[in-house]
């Protein structure tokens, strides 16, 4: 997708959010909507100006992440050398997937087991270390988290949606 199209898409999404806020504000009383309503209108104005800027301004003025502009080998100013392999979009999808997997694990097996499974799995998949070492590192992390959050801070654990099956 071209940089203009990406920026336009972001602006359209923002417009939808601000429009949604305006619609929802109609149900509030005058006091409750005193700040959100004008702010949402202000947001729409800002986004429309930004949209016009994208499409009628100079391409050099666009504030875009260089990862999308120059392809997979150039990143933002954070680090000049990229060691990850594969196209940028694929790495991005993997990053979303990584968060999704951890989220799914937490909701299904609970907080602590998911920390163990995710960490061990990540080490194994990325070949950071051998699988016995991956399991050992993951176990160390999980025990540390358990001691800190559950034993020391007395946090009540969430056991996941599968917990009733084991009770």
């Amino acid at each position: 997708m071209s940089r203009h199209a990406q920026e336009n898409l972001a602006s359209v999404l923002l417009l939808a959010v601000f429009a949604g806020v305006i619609v929802l504000c109609q149900d509030f009383g005058p006091r409750a909507r005193m700040i959100p309503l004008p702010l949402a209108v202000f947001g729409i104005v800002l986004t429309l100006i930004q949209l016009a800027w994208h499409n009628f301004g100079s391409p050099e003025n666009l504030q875009m992440d260089m990862i999308s502009v120059h392809g997979p080998d150039v990143l933002t100013g954070d680090a000049p050398v990229v060691r990850a392999s594969g196209p940028a979009w694929l790495r991005e999808v993997k990053a979303y997937g990584m968060v999704g997997v951890l989220l799914a694990l937490i909701f299904t097996v609970g907080v602590m087991p998911s920390a163990f499974l995710f960490t061990a799995g990540y080490f194994i998949v990325t070949r950071y270390c051998s699988w016995p070492l991956s399991l050992a590192y993951a176990a160390m992390l999980t025990v540390s988290l358990y001691l800190l959050f559950v034993v020391a801070l007395e946090m009540q654990l969430y056991h996941g949606l599968l917990a009733p099956l084991f009770q």
Binding site: I35, Q63, M64, A79, L103, A115
Partner: protein
């Protein structure tokens, strides 16, 4: 007064009080470093262990832990751009860029020394101001608090470099997100879609874990490189450099400390606003504001000095009126009740030695935190050079557990993930995440104080409150200052170009 100062110090020099302070400080550092947990959690968890001990020792444990969380928060903000709590946010702006430039030791040391100096200056002014503070607090009302929050908003321009439109859009979004939940003024559920969870609103620490920590880990996973690649960026700074930086910018430290003390005195404003306001004044008064956001050491020193001094300020309304200056001070009030101490005007006359004990705790606690901090800085500074494949799963797991631990709601984990993706996209398309959080932090304070001002004084409340009007003028001037300075600089450059 001198007698009370000596008696206050003597009460702290018992083995029990000193041991409790050391335990409190170490414990506070650990809690501060954990994402989502801050001084409030640290003090709340210690509360059950405080009964039956000496009063000074108990206060040393509680306040020591609370003071230590300030630097603990700063550590993760500087090294990983992961604020431990809302007050650590301002440290991400310049601390993290310094880490990426191989100046982590300098940033951590400047932060620790800034907090120490701020704490000491705050404590000294607190001691001097004790007789004067009562009329000052009574002279301020919601209109003045509103102006304080508006001042915090002026920092937005600093983070909108490149696209002011996008910077403003991000802050508008942040403000709107802060309105999710029950509106406390009108009891109207806003943007909750019938969800009980959303009625409580979006938790700031959880949103920040997502916006900064989760999105940074996503970026690391995509790049596959460490935060700092030592083959490219050597750690060339030293701890001593950071210490010297804090002393070299002594005027900034004094200004920031007084600001922190002032904000601390205002009940309900809080350290997160203090950090942002300190950053704003540092950027706006700097001769080189363009360095801010790119690794300016002043951007690290100012918020830490402010937050160090803020604790002393927060004690004032708590002790003098029994009105807690913030959430942590509310917990301190509970501890007072357990200890049989009654806060109120009598505290500043009959229990002055206890008040000075607390002033000394702030000083000694800050010294202890700084000594430990400077000692462990060389080891901490190595953490950002760990491989991405090691960092990502560990930090993500800790962050999600931290998000859950914040309120014990599993939905908060989902919120952290959503904000993580939003934060990643905002960073990618250059919508400032900092502005988003600034909007979020200040929104509720602005709305609440605006409503109260309108109710109390009507639409022309500014005319009724001359102090607020003067503060508004100050806000306008400080907001316009960077633009005027830029305009003058451009004019000078044009004139120089025309001459050559």
């Amino acid at each position: 007064m001198i007698d009370a100062m000596v008696a206050g110090l003597a009460a702290l020099l018992t083995p029990q009080a000193l041991l409790f302070m050391f335990i409190g400080v170490v414990y506070g550092l650990v809690i501060g470093i954990l994402p989502g947990l801050g001084g409030v959690v640290a003090m709340a968890l210690l509360l059950p262990f405080t009964y039956g001990f000496e009063t000074a020792a108990t206060l040393a444990l509680l306040l020591g832990a609370h003071i230590a969380t300030i630097w603990g928060d700063s550590v993760t903000s500087i090294l990983f751009s992961v604020p431990g709590s809302a007050k650590g946010l301002a440290l991400c702006f310049d601390g993290y860029p310094m880490t990426k430039q191989g100046q982590a030791k300098r940033a951590l040391a400047a932060s620790a020394t800034g907090a120490l100096l701020g704490g000491i200056i705050g404590a000294i002014f607190l001691a001097l101001c004790i007789p004067l503070i009562r009329p000052v607090i009574l002279a301020l009302g919601p209109s003045e608090y509103l102006m304080m929050a508006l001042w915090g908003l002026t920092v937005i321009a600093t983070f909108s470099e490149g696209s002011l439109m996008k910077g403003l859009t991000a802050s508008v979004l942040g403000v709107l997100v802060a309105f999710i939940g029950m509106d406390v003024v009108t009891a109207t559920p806003r943007f909750t879609f019938g969800s009980d969870f959303l009625m409580e609103g979006i938790s700031f620490p959880v949103a920040m874990i997502g916006l900064f920590a989760v999105s940074e880990m996503m970026k690391l996973a995509i790049k596959g490189t460490p935060i700092v690649d030592r083959s490219l960026v050597k750690e060339e700074s030293t701890v001593w450099q950071g210490v010297c930086d804090a002393f070299r910018h002594w005027w900034l430290v004094v200004r920031s400390s007084l600001l922190g003390l002032w904000i601390g005195v205002l009940p309900g404003v809080g350290a997160s606003v203090a950090g942002l306001a300190a950053y704003a004044q540092a950027a706006q008064t700097s001769k080189t504001p363009e360095r801010f956001g790119k690794g300016a050491v002043e951007g690290v020193i100012a918020p830490d000095a402010t937050m160090g001094a803020n604790e002393g300020g927060g004690l004032m309304p708590t002790l003098a009126f029994g009105i807690p200056g913030g959430e942590s001070m509310a917990i301190l009030l509970v501890a007072f009740i357990g200890l049989g101490v009654v806060p109120g005007p009598d505290m500043l006359t009959k229990n002055l030695d206890l008040v000075f004990s607390m002033v000394w705790i702030i000083v000694i606690g800050n010294i202890l935190v700084t000594l430990i901090g400077l000692g462990i800085t060389p080891w901490l500074a190595r953490l950002p050079s760990l491989q991405a494949n090691l960092m990502v799963p560990i930090v993500l797991s800790v962050c999600f557990v931290g998000a859950y631990a914040t309120r014990g709601h599993i939905e908060d984990v989902l919120v952290a993930a959503v904000f993580g993706v939003v934060g990643y996209l905002m960073d990618k398309y250059r919508y400032s995440r900092a502005n988003f959080v600034i909007g979020m932090v200040l929104a509720v304070m602005i709305e609440r104080n605006l409503h109260i001002s309108l109710t109390l004084y009507g639409r022309d409340f500014l005319l009724e409150r001359p102090i607020a009007l003067a503060m508004l003028a100050f806000v306008v001037i400080t907001a316009a200052l960077p633009f005027i300075r830029n305009w003058r600089r451009r004019k000078l450059a044009q004139a120089a170009g025309a001459q050559s």
